[in-house]
Subunit: 267 residues, 2 copies
Amino acid sequence: MTQSFFYIFVIMKNKPSLLTMNFSELFVPGLSVDCVIIGFEDHKLKILILKWNSDIDGWALPGGFVLKNEDLDKAAIRVLKERTGVELPFLEQFKTFGNLDRGKRNNALEKVKIDGITPEHIEWMNQRFISTGYVSLVDIKKCDPRPDILSEKIDWIALDELPNLILDHKHIVKKAISFIKNQINYLPIGITLLPERFTMKELQLLYESILEKKLDRGNFQRKMLKLDIFNRHEKHLEGGAHKAPYLYSFDHEKYNKLLEQGFSFNS
Amino acid sequence: MTQSFFYIFVIMKNKPSLLTMNFSELFVPGLSVDCVIIGFEDHKLKILILKWNSDIDGWALPGGFVLKNEDLDKAAIRVLKERTGVELPFLEQFKTFGNLDRGKRNNALEKVKIDGITPEHIEWMNQRFISTGYVSLVDIKKCDPRPDILSEKIDWIALDELPNLILDHKHIVKKAISFIKNQINYLPIGITLLPERFTMKELQLLYESILEKKLDRGNFQRKMLKLDIFNRHEKHLEGGAHKAPYLYSFDHEKYNKLLEQGFSFNS
DNA sequence: ACAAAAGTGTTTATAATACACCCATGA
DNA sequence: TCATGGGTGTATTATAAACACTTTTGT
């Protein structure tokens, strides 16, 4: 319900006239999408969340409404693009949240005073909402997070440092993480989370973050390389007082071939 | 969108007056649930589907609308109960279907002439619908399938003998099966699909149906028994000209303990 | 006695785990 | 030269897979 604001802002920049429209004509009523956009930085998983302005307490997941002539998936793609500038790295629906108690009426909405937002808009946003959760894995360095007219800021926050989130958004995040954890054995997940070139150590730290357990260095390296989906680059990374690690990148052709035939990486 | 009829029927039996209500007041607009109810009979996976009456061509998954003051999950539970009489054996949400092209307008709806169904009801049902898919695993013998005012019959149909299904219901079935296939390594799925007592052979046939591949008899038996979640019963099954197989049942206490600690059965 | 299918055993191959060793590097 | 972390090797254990052997039963 709340995410509408961010969408309104985008509309305002492009076609301000749309704001005079009744939401009921524009959007599928009562249905929204929420995106858990996950990145990896400083050896930690982080997600992109929006800090509301002082009138409204709490942070929120990037989300939005579904246009009447828009696929549900497309709505999520649009939200991802609007918040990060990124197009379709990895975006998957994981669950639809439809409990009655998720949508406690947000009194804060009544306080909002923004040009073009009418009491009818507020009324519409205060209806019961069912929200479909999408999870996206992105390279933080490729993102250009865009704050919103209603939010003081948009930020990457480590999973273990999350502030209060509105509604059931914390629950949505938990479900997203558990979804990724289950998927990791069937998807070489690093391909969208890491930069183009990375070390095996970095990939291992990513896996350890997702699985929440330590892995054996030697075994991890051997199992990964055995998948035969990496290119090893001759230029080593320099810096530490130790042997320089190789840099790797995904061989997209081999990677896709492996995905097609299916595989299992147990860790 | 079509499933509404079945729900109307139930309402008619209980509180016929509700039929005079506007659907917009009763239901969350544009949102439905569809249930893929899976059973196991004659060594085959079967699903419960509804054959429409002659005015309307095609079969449909059991489904329904979501009441305005009802959890999404509760709507699925209600549909399962109404169609089978069964309460909560195994019911899980697996995906929400929201593509525009899934809801091609069903001209057949206009032909329908049923007491109490007004053009406004038809109009409402012809709006764009987004549907959340639930999958349920049930013991066919415990089910009491109930056909509907609009359907000639309700039947268990083997997966490889499915007739034409309306809308994207075939696609929904495929996704449900693939969901179960992925879950099978983490859930002793037989507990709700098989009768109280069963042979290892039957359990194996069930697994082979879901996994769509043959399994080694000896290895399957040993791996299953090693899970230590079964009770072996001394009364053997008789009938064939061969050694009589033991009957097993799930030890619910051990089963639940295993589920809590998590396990993986690779087959 | 025999066929058929159950129950159990055995062998082999493959993969997971733990840890050891040597190597390259910068201070 | 020494501490550090990278790359690779190896022994051990656990699991999967293939298949063989024995048992029980009705005909």
